[in-house]
């Protein structure tokens, strides 16, 4: 399985330089843990890895082959779990999940959806419409997407938000299994998610000193990036 790398990445949001000169490398079986204060660009980096956000400078590559050369191939290799849960209120949990599984190329979307819900410890919500699900259940449903259709690279943005302890433990187990099978994962988090041997990437190391400081006050520093993404 190929190695996913990023080199000399620069992220510009509006007029603000979020990070610059950032390099990373994820090989099969490895995990990348993105750390840093609010607004340091964890979400932006994950969105960049996913291909939602174009790097202002720098490049992403699979085994040296640039991502922009084969965007379709890149999208087939990733699962992205963002802040929004993408749960349709009028569809049941199983229907929601089966749709994404089918789109991701699962042979039997319904069966893999049910299996994924089971794995995340919420088989009972399969027939429940999205509007009756709690925040934690929606999150589990969203995380179940990564299991419902296979993809080597998982990009998880604050996956532990709204999850209880048991669910976090489940998630750690699922990530470990994925890595054992040669999968890759990049996770941004504030809470503790145990990933033995994970490579840590401190985003604030790449925050430019000049210029950045002026904006790093309350208005922008605190969740400015996440806020923009969610809007």
């Amino acid at each position: 399985m190929p190695v996913f790398t990023g080199s000399e990445l620069t992220c510009l949001r509006g007029d603000r330089l979020v990070f610059t000169g950032l390099d990373f490398r994820v090989a099969p079986g490895e995990a990348l843990l993105l750390l840093g204060p609010n607004g340091s660009g964890k979400s932006s980096l994950l969105r960049m890895m996913a291909g939602l956000l174009k790097p202002f400078r720098g490049r992403l590559a699979w085994d040296g082959a640039p991502v922009p050369d084969d965007p379709d191939g890149h999208r087939a290799k990733i699962h992205y779990v963002g802040h929004l849960d993408a749960v349709k209120p009028v569809l049941t949990a199983a229907e929601n999940l089966a749709f994404w599984a089918g789109l991701g190329g699962a042979a039997d979307p319904r069966a893999s959806a049910l299996a994924a819900l089971d794995r995340l410890g919420v088989p009972q919500i399969a027939g429940v419409p999205g509007r009756y699900l709690s925040a934690g259940q929606k999150r589990r449903l969203n995380l179940a997407r990564v299991l419902a259709a296979p993809a080597p690279l998982w990009l998880l943005d604050e996956p532990s938000v709204a999850l209880d302890r048991a669910a976090v433990a489940l998630l750690e187990g699922i990530i470990a299994e994925h890595r054992a099978a040669g999968g890759m994962v990049a996770v941004s988090t504030h809470a503790d998610i145990a990933m033995p041997g994970a490579r840590e990437l401190h985003l604030d190391d790449f925050t430019p000193v000049t210029g950045g400081n002026a904006f790093d006050d309350d208005a922008f520093g605190d969740g400015g990036i996440e806020g923009e993404d969610a809007a």
Binding site: L52, D72, I78, Y80, L84, K88, L91, E95, L103
Partner: protein, 221 residues
């Protein structure tokens, strides 16, 4: 292809479960047309003369009504990002959503139009052409409108902006649609008008999803 159908099926299912979107467009269409006899008076000859134009204008407005929602809900709940990241090309996603939009809002208009034509005392000679122009024209409205819906995504008061952006682009469809019916009513062949409409549709079919997808990529960034 199965993925394309899956997308269409999902949007249809969402529309049917929510119910309101589908029925609102056709109800608005009917009400809009029914208002005219009250406004211009019940004189049958006048109604017969304006029938084609009234029905077409009402169809434009009805199609516009539901367009704002085309990408909005997916954008707000994060589904759009995931669709943009799915292995399906975004152009196909736009086309699938446009097709679903047309099936839900355009098709009922075609069914309702002959009934409204009777109401407006239109000569039966024009009925066939009326249905035919709507059959070619309403997909065109959905396609063009889809570009506007994608462009105004995330804008404040996007619905108003969408109308200002899209209504001028609807004018050619209106001219050829109403023109074809008028031609039939006057005993001329509607063929040139229909061919021009079909030509517009043939151009919009590849171009609109392409433009819409480009706009969506900007929106999710």
């Amino acid at each position: 292809m199965t993925r394309f159908l899956r997308l269409v099926g999902r949007d249809l299912r969402l529309a049917l479960r929510q119910g309101s979107d589908a029925s609102i467009a056709v109800m608005f269409f009917v009400l809009c047309v029914v208002l005219f006899p009250f406004g211009v008076g019940p004189e049958p000859n006048i109604l017969a003369r304006i029938a084609a134009g009234v029905i077409w204008v009402a169809a434009l407005l009805a199609s516009l009504l539901s367009l704002e929602r085309l990408f909005q809900t997916d954008y707000e709940d994060g589904s759009l990002e995931l669709l943009a990241l799915s292995p399906v090309p975004l152009e196909a996603v736009v086309l699938a959503k446009t097709l679903a939009h047309w099936l839900v809002t355009g098709l009922p208009l075609i069914v309702a139009a002959p009934i409204l034509a009777v109401l407006l005392n239109m000569d039966t000679a024009g009925f066939g052409t009326l249905v035919l122009t709507l059959a070619i024209g309403t997909p065109l409205l959905s396609l063009i409108g889809g570009i506007g819906a994608a462009l105004t995504l995330g804008a404040r008061r996007g619905g108003v902006l969408l109308s200002l952006l899209i209504l001028p682009l609807y004018i050619p469809v209106l001219i050829f649609g109403a023109g074809a019916i008028d031609a039939s009513l006057h005993g001329l062949t509607p063929r040139p008008h229909l061919l021009l409409l079909a030509g517009l549709l043939a151009a919009a079919l590849p171009l609109a999803p392409w433009a819409g997808a480009a706009a969506l990529r900007q929106a999710v960034e």
